[in-house]
Amino acid sequence: MEQTRELLINMGPQHPSTHGVLRVLVKLDGETITWAEPDIGYLHRCFEKLSESKTYTQVIPYTDRTDYLSAITNEHAFCLAVEKLMGIEVPERAEYIRVMMAELQRICSHLLGLGAMALDLGAVTGFLYAWRDREKIYSLFERITGGRMLYNYLRIGGVRNDLPEGIIGTPKDGRDKADKTIWGFINYFESYVLPEWDDLLTNNRIFQWRTQGVAPLPSEVAIAYGASGPVLRASGVKWDLRKNVPYSIYDRFEFDIPVGKENGDCFDRWVVRVEEMRQSARIVKQALQWLAENPGDYIAPKLPRVLKPPKGEVYIRYEGSRGEVGVHLVSDGSANPYKVKWRSPCFTHLQLLPVLAPGHKLADMIAIIGSIDIVLGEVDR
């Protein structure tokens, strides 16, 4: 009797659910995955090599393009690294602006990540709702930075420009001002968007069927594989670099770290991200209060035109939207960084795919890819 054979399937690089040019080779026995291997590198743009021939300031726009959905956090991580290397003091107002922008960016990035996961599971409407709200953040960002997606807004030592007039708004701004003032957006987001997500997807029975119990990740495995950010927290590890290794001025803000169960599944990863958006909104509110009470225009110190950090080495751990962004910077005293190493969370998380996928259905594969929320720009750099 002839035996049945395993089917080798090639998902990507041109596949609707691989979030960019990811290629995953999957072996199927029936519908069950027996083996999976990601193949990356389709979007490699030599970020690290390019940086070695740029000055420190010129690298900032390139960092935008690593994780292009979360540009401000990348700029922030890089600026923190250079500032630590040079010992630059950042003005308080600039710090608050940076934190506020980073948290708005985190909301924005999570919205897209969750929306894309919903889209992969077949809920097109959830994706478009995420897009609608992201658009509102983008119009705010456009007014603040001039760019909609890639900003080049942070400068070493501060930010490029102060917030424009009237963008902060007042805490009473409602839905009608959601794309005009930041307060308006936050109020709209907390009172309207988050309940809508709960109604449409989180509490949806089919959505729970599709995500609960899929790809559980034990906390020890998560740590051993270097998982970070929402993926790590969904496995029940209460670890947030903003609290545990505080940088910038995060120790001045009050917020909680959402965690999932001991064996975090796709649903936990989803819930943790939704919860994180809520916490980010809390941080933004605190930052807005401070910014409204402390007007000023000192947003960047005077620095020489060409920065020449002293010889040395620094490694910054930064809680980006998708996890721990590590910036390893080596300076040889010249105007160009001697080496830049970008430790990207997505690159590390993608290693989990061969661990998580086997034993699940092909349809779960895309739930897993969606729940670890990868951005190929950051995987390949």
Binding site: L7, I9, N10, H15, P16, S17, L28, E31, A118, L119, D120, L121, G122, A123, V124, T125, G126, L128, Y129, R132, L200, L201, N204, I206, F207, W209, R210, K361, L362, A363, D364, M365, I366
Partner: protein
Amino acid sequence: MSLADLWAQHWFRAFVTGSLVLVFALGNFYITLWLERKESAWIQNRLGPMRAGPQGLLQVLADLFKLLQKEDIVPRNVDRILFLIAPFIAHIPALLIFLVVPFGPNMVVADYDIGIIMIAAVTSYAVIATFIAGWGSNNKYSLLGAMRGAAQMISYEVTLVMSVIGVVMMAGSLKLSDIVLAQAERGVLGWYLFPQFIGFIVYLIASLAELNRAPFDLMEAESELVAGYHTEYSGFRFAIFLLVEYVHMIAWSAIAATLFLGGWVGPTPADIPVIGPKLFGWMTGPVWDNVWGFFWFLFKTYLLIFILIWIRWTFPRVRIDQLMDLGWKFLLPVSLFNIFLTGVMKYGWNVLAESGSPLRWIFWLWR
């Protein structure tokens, strides 16, 4: 009239009605496609097509013209015969369903005595087209889609057939026009939606699965299988599959409207001329009866189509094992229970109505 004349007459009538049904199917395909786009846009805070014609009404036409100009590609290593005949096979059952659907009091093409069995037979034939298309494409995604499609469709076939038995028990006939007439007397309250509520829900879910529409569109799940069984089809061959899908949707909605919502019957009891066609005294007579019947039939059909589209754009997609579990472990027992319930209630009414016991009002809906 000689036998040959009789045959010729039937052949002629068959061609004419067939063409009319084809036109009906194509026209409604057009409207449904437009409706799907507009409704999904409405659900998703978008505008949908706006450029081509008022409210984008001509958008579908524009898309069809685009598809007309697409090259007809037959990939090199497909199973050529199967690949080529699949769209033809797919189109046949979509049209055959309309044979027995009563569009109005006197508007039914062929009123078979075994109407419902005929529908069940014809629709289970649709799975063959899916399977042929998927297997013939020699593509892994198509193959998976076809496999899923076959499993899904045979599973829900059973559920679908079982959920309709309650209606047949109520009406005592397999003929669709009889089923409609049985619902005609008492207006809205006479519709089988109420006594057969369980059956209606089961039918709705099962027909979603049979139509392979979201949340059960597993055989063409675009995020998993690219386009499922019709990945390799291009141009108008692909358009045929699209057409068939929507015509099936119209057909299933029409059958649901006929079986559960009273078909062409208006919402008021036949003898109470309060609202509805009888209000306008001059709109009576056999022709106007047909017109109003057709109106109510279309109205109900589009109501159901609206619901199907609404469901599609709201829910995430289920997984294949969950789909099978839902069908075999939940819907099938529930529809068996529905048969049991209908039998008991119907029998209870029959017994108690004779005795005149006040208890009979419990069974009133199942008269």
